[in-house]
């Protein structure tokens, strides 16, 4: 199947889960990444059960925060 990962079309096996995609894409600090599929935010606890579909568009966003102290 073809999916769009961070704006780039890629070929992945049918049945690929979000968890597997994060592993395959070698995402830095995956525990701190927020993921959207077709602009919907996905709960972290559902990463392993979320199966990607043809034409899905996936974005990886890092939590961005900090503090001056």
């Amino acid at each position: 199947m073809k999916i769009i990962v961070a704006g780039e079309k890629k070929e992945y096996e049918e049945g690929t889960t979000l968890e597997k995609l994060i592993e395959k894409e070698d995402i830095d600090n995956p525990q701190y990444v927020t993921v959207t599929i077709n602009e919907e935010f996905v709960d972290r606890e559902k990463f392993s059960e979320t199966v990607l579909k043809d034409d899905d568009s996936i974005e990886f966003l890092y939590f961005m925060g900090g503090g001056q102290r």
Partner: protein
């Protein structure tokens, strides 16, 4: 402010920002006082030059003078807009209304994207805003990028 205790090695990477974008960041962060303000920087990287082409002003959903968290929805919109314009999100900026321009312990701890540029604007001195840009490694080692305002 004496910055001698906040000296970091410079990287080979430089950052070029337009004067109008620099002024926009300054205005936005000043208007945000007493809260910390934040946003993203979009642009292009060519070898060792990171050229900022567009600044995205995001909401600090913490609404705090000591912390910031970017609104994830606005973050997503900025990523999409940057891509539509042929830019990458090069990193982010935030203000320190009452402390120097240096990555705090919390900033370092929360710098999850080791590829990103972290710009910090200190507004602790009214007439002397200080904008610096940092790179934070996974092990919290900090280096600094030279900023060229043109």
């Amino acid at each position: 402010m004496d910055y001698t205790e906040y000296i970091y090695p410079f990287t080979d990477e430089k950052i070029i920002i337009k004067k109008e974008d620099y002024n926009s960041i300054l205005d936005y962060c000043r208007q945000g006082i007493p809260e910390e303000s934040c946003g993203l920087i979009g642009g292009k990287k060519d070898e060792n030059i990171n050229r900022i082409e567009k600044v995205y002003f995001l909401t600090n959903i913490d609404h705090s003078n000591e912390h910031f968290s970017m609104d994830p929805k606005e973050q997503l919109d900025a990523y999409k807009d940057a891509r539509a314009n042929g830019y990458d999100i090069l990193g982010n900026f935030h203000s320190h209304p009452e402390s120097p321009s240096r990555p705090s312990e919390e900033d370092k701890k929360l710098a999850y994207d080791s590829k990103a540029i972290y710009m910090i604007l200190s507004l602790m001195e009214d007439n002397n805003p200080v904008l610096r840009a940092f790179h934070v490694e996974k092990n919290s080692i900090v280096t600094e990028h030279e900023i060229i305002v043109e």
